[in-house]
């Protein structure tokens, strides 16, 4: 009966194999356009419809964007959806730790210091308190060199935390000292950093067999999407979750699309998984998304990528060469407008701004196009960073205040906030939210500043909600204050608070069954789960942020030597391979039409004019242009 209402989606033979695969480990290698998300959805649906069995399915991925997409695709599972946990591995670890992190010292929803600057501050304070380390830091030289040293140390700490299996113990005593000092600093603020989430989750699962066993009973099947982006810590958590017996794990990924090398992720964990779990490997090698030319160019960039079945649509690929960056941008936008007007035989229906995307290797390469689009009133949106940065001081103040309210022990953000108001925290011990509220009220009174008063009032509103958190009343307070400001600043506050409301809205959706509470909301913002996707307008994206998206028409700008591939990758095979995968990802974002553009000469930031050559990638794919 159902079949007449919802027609059964036709699946290809290999797709069907994945959907029908029973118990046991499974590795699915799925190139672009192979319909992997659909296959994943169908598989989850099939597993959940096993009658008379009670279990849930855990569907994990590594970016918030991917998690959101998976959630959207699984939306039509309806009631079955409540039996699936969809989220990022970080989010899953955060939940796990806040629910039952006691054995590893986590007592409630942990506060996360996600900003590099926060972590640097923690380390700087920890080092200053330790004469030995302080001396070591001073030896580094001037202020700039010392900052560099701190950053090196932070990276080393991160590296240790990211390798729970290969670096189980620190050998260098000084490194250990830095590591311990930093962690003690975090602990004093009642906070954890991003890497801790994985490390603590790993410890929780390996040291507490019964807790791990609980999760294995709860989630009979584990699906991991974008598996090429696993890093060691993440893979370690997955392995700890499985223990020695459990192996109903499906990993889906595409080694060719691994482009997060800077987070120490590597497609090798897909191989490790196949070997260690003795996983069955199924390759999805049909591309039903892209036109022939897109598939051909992808193949030219990555010869190992081959496609068995594909669409009978030719598509086109062209190169646009501008005299300079402005000229390049003009050509790109001209072409966009032309497509709006005439459409294209390979594309059904009209072409709208939302059908097009402009991709650049870096944010910088997109600036000229952004300006050009703006001047011609073509709607567009940027998504270059995963975290929103506030435009107004008031919103910054407010977020700092929220953090201290959520975690009164968080001296770091408390003193940061007081600094901004020209106050100092002199040794007062703060441990209760009521003290935070009182302190802010006091600051507002002493300073007589309307801005402080607005924050104090807004925090008071939040603190008084003894039950379900609501953010809107506090934002109304801020906006009321903004109404007294000059137009620019007022607009900034409205924009920032609008973003916060959006994030709040997203948080409510993802946390539907969860308790609404301040720490949860802040963690959600930190993990970026509350970032929204906009879909009206042309997308301006860096290659990294374009992952998982697809468009009818894709422009890849800045296809010049030294820009894409990045000049720093020259003569470095590993980095160069990563650049190539970047290009592969960029190209395969297109369903139909591809454009590459570059400028013959570029204005360097210091004013020089430099002639540029086309990217070597263009030479590689010349046959199809």
């Amino acid at each position: 009966m159902m079949a007449t209402i919802v027609p059964k989606i036709r699946l290809s033979g290999t797709q069907q194999r994945v959907v029908e695969f029973g118990d046991g480990p499974l590795l699915v290698v799925a190139g672009p356009g192979t319909g992997k998300t659909r296959v994943l959805t169908e598989r989850v649906r099939r597993l959940l419809s096993i009658q008379k069995e009670h279990f849930r399915v855990l569907a994990l991925t590594f970016t918030n964007k991917a998690a959101r997409e998976m959630e959207e695709r699984l939306d039509d599972l309806g009631e079955l959806g409540t039996r699936t946990f969809i989220g990022t591995l970080h989010g899953f670890c955060l939940d796990m730790l806040s629910d039952r992190g006691k054995p590893v010292g986590v007592n409630s929803t942990p506060q996360i210091f996600e900003q590099f600057s926060d972590r640097r501050q923690v380390l700087a304070e920890a080092v200053a308190a330790d004469p030995l380390l302080n001396h070591e830091l001073m030896m580094a030289g001037d202020a700039k060199a010392r900052t560099r040293k701190l950053d090196d140390w932070l990276r080393a700490i991160s590296n240790i935390k990211n390798h729970p299996m290969t670096i189980p113990e620190i050998e260098d005593p000084q490194e250990q000292r830095i590591f311990d000092a930093y962690n003690a600093g975090l602990e004093a603020s009642g906070a954890f950093d991003f890497d801790d989430l994985l490390l603590l989750a790993y410890r929780l699962l390996t040291e507490n067999e019964k807790i791990a066993a609980f999760y294995r009973r709860l989630y009979r099947y584990v699906c991991i999407d974008e598996a090429q982006d696993l890093n060691e810590a993440q893979y370690a958590v997955v392995k700890a979750l499985c223990g020695s017996e459990f192996n109903n794990v499906m990993m889906v990924g595409d080694p060719n699309q691994s482009i997060y090398g800077f987070t120490t992720s590597s497609p090798r964990y897909m191989d490790d998984f196949q070997r260690e779990f003795r996983a069955t490997k199924i390759a999805l090698d049909e591309n039903f998304r892209s036109s022939r030319v897109v598939v051909d160019i992808a193949h030219a960039l990555e010869p190992s990528y081959s496609v068995k079945g594909q669409l009978p649509i030719a598509g086109t690929a062209k190169v646009l060469v501008g005299d300079d960056e402005e000229g390049e941008a003009k050509l790109v936008v001209d072409e966009i407008q032309r497509l709006f007007q005439t459409g294209h035989p390979d594309i059904e229906g009209p072409i709208t701004p939302a059908s097009c995307a402009v991709l650049g290797r870096t944010r910088y390469t997109l600036l000229a196009v952004e300006k050009e689009l703006g001047s011609r009133d073509i709607p567009f949106y940027r998504r270059v960073t995963s975290l929103h940065e506030n435009e107004s001081k008031l919103a910054d103040d407010f977020q700092l205040a929220l953090r201290t309210l959520a975690n009164p022990r968080d001296q770091l953000h408390m003193s940061a906030l007081l600094n901004r108001w020209d106050f100092k925290l002199d040794g007062e011990v703060i441990s209760e939210p009521a003290q935070v509220v009182a302190l802010m009220a006091e600051c507002a009174k002493v300073s007589g500043e309307a801005r402080c008063q607005a924050i104090a009032d807004a925090i008071d509103v939040i603190a008084k909600q003894n039950n379900q958190l609501k953010i809107k009343p506090a934002i109304d307070v801020l906006r009321k204050h903004a109404d007294t400001l000059a137009a620019n600043e007022r607009g900034a506050v409205y924009d920032d608070t609008e973003v916060m409301l959006n994030e709040w809205d997203q948080y409510l959706r993802t946390a539907a069954s969860k308790t609404r509470a301040l720490p949860g909301f802040l963690s959600s913002m930190a993990l970026g789960t509350s970032q929204q996707i906009k879909s009206d307008g042309t997308a301006l994206l860096t290659v990294h942020s374009s992952k998982g998206l697809e468009f009818e028409v894709v422009f890849i700008v800045g296809m010049a030597e030294g820009v894409f591939p990045d000049y720093r990758a020259q003569n470095k095979p590993k980095e160069m391979a990563e650049e190539k995968r970047n290009a592969f990802v960029a190209v395969t974002r297109s369903r139909r039409l591809l454009y590459f553009s570059y400028a013959k000469q570029r204005m360097m930031p210091w004013g020089d004019i430099r002639l540029s050559k086309p990217s070597p990638f263009l030479t590689q794919i010349q046959a199809y242009l």
């Binding site: 009658q51 008379k52 069995e53 009670h54 279990f55 849930r56 039996r83 939940d95 796990m96 806040s98 629910d99 039952r100 006691k102 054995p103 007592n107 409630s108 507490n208 067999e209 019964k210 807790i211 066993a213 609980f214 294995r216 009973r217 709860l218 009979r220 008084k464 909600q465 003894n466 039950n467 609501k470 069954s513 969860k514 308790t515």
Partner: protein, 637 residues
Amino acid sequence: MSPQKSKPGPKTVTLADLAKPAPTPKPTAGSPKSSGVTVVAIRVADFRSLTNIEVLLHDLTVLVGANNAGKTSFLDAFQFAIGANRRLLGKEDIRLGQNEADVPKDRRAVVDILLRPVGPNGEVIESFPSGSYWTNLWGTGIAQDDDQDDMVGMRSVLEWSDVHGDYRTTRKFLKEWKPFADWLDAEDGDTVSAAQIEPIALHYIDAKRDLDDDLRTRGSFWRRLTDDLGLTEKDVEELEEALSVINKTLVDKSEVLKHLRENLTELQKVIAFEKAGIDIAPVPRHLRDLSRGVDVSLNSGGGSAFPLTRHGMGTRSLASLLVFRAFASWRQSKAEEGGDEVHTLLAVEEPESHLHPHAQKALFAQVRDIPGQRIVSTHSPYFVAQSRLEDLRLLVKNKSDTKVSQLDLSKLNADERRKLDREVMVSRGDLLFSRALILFEGETEEQALPIYAESYWGATAHEKGFSFVGCGGANYFPFVWLAQNFGMRWYILSDGEDLIVAAVNGQLNKVGLGNATTLPNISIIDGKTDYEGHLVENYMDAIEATLEAVLGKGEFDKYIAELDGKPGKKVAGKLTTRDYKGADGRKRAAKDLLSERKTRLAAPVATAIVSLTDPARRIPPAIRKIFDKIAEDLKDE
């Protein structure tokens, strides 16, 4: 029942049927299958009259205690937490302190419940098994305790909300289950959804139940069971067909109905509807309407069956309980068919209401056979007598604070346990409902104490809620142990002979208590004598007068004359000789006479004493000591 053949007509049941144990629900459901989960504890703070209590639950838990001890508040708190039909609660459900004019705004009523996984035989196990319905239902709401065993804690809070300007309820999972001392500090987590409570929802049958009401009330167990009779479409069609045949036959045969129809047909002429037909249906046409009118007739043995409405409240109340049993087993088998689970949780308030003692005795088996977990509050000594000691929970109100106690049977050996069961529970189940337990040695006291008590308090011992228990041979242990463990007030009036005092001490030591002479709630008769000795020491005047009144003038002198120098009773195995000579000879004779004719004399002597003109002498000193102590202990109630 007479072996008559069942004849067609309304199915009748007899009271005797009702008292029989329930038939095994259904072969498919199997014998009491475990639901896989059980509620092991409930904690309540600041709800109604309850300040802070914890009650541990078994499969069957029996709540006893005097009226107003907090039993109903407790069941209401449980209902508030996970009840199937939840009422809207408000300020009046938050505890109001003794000297408070109004409930403080920040006081919140909190009810925690703790669930644990159980194995096939109902024993608590470490974790929910793989593929368990409950794991999927509660997901990450399931927490691990310090031993990392699975547990599910749910906290319901009723508190004032400034935003809503009203009292609001929240329900959350608990991340931990703390020791009772600081349970309110436990950290909570995700919100518990209604769907996550439904399969364990508590069904609460209060004392006002009445099947006759159930038949008519939407949402009652009866209606929930009968609204869908579970017939196939074909069945329905056939039966409705038959109904219209019956209707037609009725109308055709009944002159009255025919007349009515003809007259009503006139309507057609007024309302100009083409082919408007008038039809009279003396019986409902649709099956769904018919099932609403389901009636139950009861044949109370021998006589003819008549509708339940005409039966007394006892029958109707019991029938209501039985309908729940049918509902529970039906719901369980339905859930199992669908691959789901339900944990039937039933709270019954005073199941014995309106039932005569004999039926109260039979009631226990009825309640025991309801599938699932049951919590019963009762005032019936018959019910208590059949309960297992470990299932009893005694609620005692001390000033305004309710305390709950249960027996720690692990400290008893098999023999002691048997004693407790045989000597206390089976025969004296009523003791659990008394405010004070007064224990003593002999029959004389048994007859006399109520008379003194009435004189002392101006009210009968029953009115005061006192129980008097004769423990011949200083057999105090089972009673004192029970009272002590249940936190009940107990008092002993003991004879003063050395042997007896030693025996009392021996009994008290078994309970873990010290010397009888040092305890304020024990009165030992002075002068190493017994109760009769105590009387002759103090009340020869009243005794002489009573003997004359009861036995006749000169009878006492005759007794002395006849028996002086004759063998008396054995003391420590040796024969004694009666010696009624000398200054105290008359007293010794009176003592012997009172002992030998207890039944005849005990009450009249007591009556004579309480009628003495000197108020100070109206209660014998040893008894006054006990009464004063009781009065002092109870003065705050």
